[in-house]
Amino acid sequence: MRAQQRRKTWGADAIRFVTGNAEKENDLFSEQEAPELPTIGAALRVSPRFLDLADLVCRHKEPTRYNLLYAALLRLRETPRFLEIASDPLVRRLEDMARAVRRDCHKMTAFVRFREIEAPDGARFVAWFEPSHYIEELAAPFFVDRFASMQFAILTPRTSILRDGTLRFGPGARRDDAPPLGDFAGAWDVYYRSIFNPARLMKRAMLKEMPKKYWANLPETRQIAAMSSAAHLREDQMVAAPAAKAEHGVARVAARFAEARTPREPADAYEALLREAKACRLCSLADCATQIVFGEGPMQARAIFVGEQPGDQEEVRLGGVDEGFQGLRLGRCP
């Protein structure tokens, strides 16, 4: 009987992943020696979808994220298409974490505020930001692209994105390391006040787009409370105010428009006939025809040319009798 070599698979609960924050987590294992790692057995294959998901989940602040990913790996071994089971609690958890990371990154691109500092070799820009997850490396390429000609630094508690010629990541910083917004704060206040529409105040939507956790670093949000409470009052004033004087030229355009819309009596029999023809639905041609081709020319003419029927040029594009093939030939006559 051949003894079968059983490859040991450590269950999801048997492994503790220790990150760089070990001293903060008061981990007992940090005092023990690390066990000897076994040699790697057969390679594990996963779909690119899992790799993309893992990339994002690793950046989440959740301490147990590696355990969750490892558990997902084990499930993937039995069920290669495990990630398709969107109803599974683990899949749901991982997708939620990935979404939170993406959202945090997106908000970072929206809410970073630079201040300008004069330096001997040109202006530099510094910003202070507090992301919720470990997204600085993910968001940096956006800023490099967007502010391609700027030399800037985005300081966060964990690291700092530094860009002066090259992109690199420095140590974390404190809020005081970034200069205050100064004059810029006033400019942001004015800008925000100007675009604030009291008649369209939707608190839930506003908080969804601009969560309160970012308000500390967005100085213009100091005005929100006051503007919100005054919004109804401003709206009432707007409604009560007399109609504003119409702009120059509006009266003329309105008059022209009104005139064009009022039906008036046909000027003569020709126009009456033209109107009737345009509205004619006596036969099925009315359903597919583009337009009618009416006659043209002086009413007192001594000769009338009657064509057999309009061609495609006349009907579709031009609407005039002389335009198409027959018209061309007529036109050539001396």
Binding site: T79, E84, I85, S87, R92, V239
Partner: protein
């Protein structure tokens, strides 16, 4: 609100396979119901078609269930190839299970009585406040 209902009706025709007649049918004075979204209104008018089995119904039928959007339906279809969806699984997929529950059947859930209840209409009525007219 009326504008909102019009957009919803347009969405239904584009992505959910509704015909215009189905949306307008039963509408008083030719206007869309302001209290309920068009999809829910249609489902309440056609209660005989429900409840449907989440694990067996085809895509077009799933799209008709109030509370199941196009993305959720796609996830249901891929997930049910691997597992039989129970009510807890559905809860993790949809935005509001309360909206969906009266109209579906799973191995561990039957909407007994709910679908025929006269008070269903009241329960599912929009809880949102009436939108005020800006220029009253």
């Amino acid at each position: 609100m009326r504008e909102h209902r019009l957009y919803q009706a347009d969405w239904l025709m584009r992505y959910y396979g509704f015909a215009a007649e189905e949306i307008v049918d039963g509408a008083s004075d030719g206007m869309l119901d302001l209290e309920r979204d068009p999809k829910l209104a249609w489902a309440l008018r056609n209660r005989a078609l429900f409840p449907i089995d989440v694990n067996r119904a085809p895509r077009e039928t799933l799209l008709r269930v109030p509370g199941l959007g196009a993305r959720v339906v796609k996830r249901i279809l891929t997930a049910r190839r691997h597992v039989a969806l129970r009510i807890d699984d559905l809860a993790r997929l949809v935005h509001s299970l309360d909206a969906v529950r009266p109209f579906v059947v799973t191995p561990d859930w039957r909407p007994t009585g709910l679908i025929d209840s006269a008070s269903l209409v009241g329960k599912l009525a929009s809880r949102g406040s009436r939108q005020l007219d800006l220029f009253a």
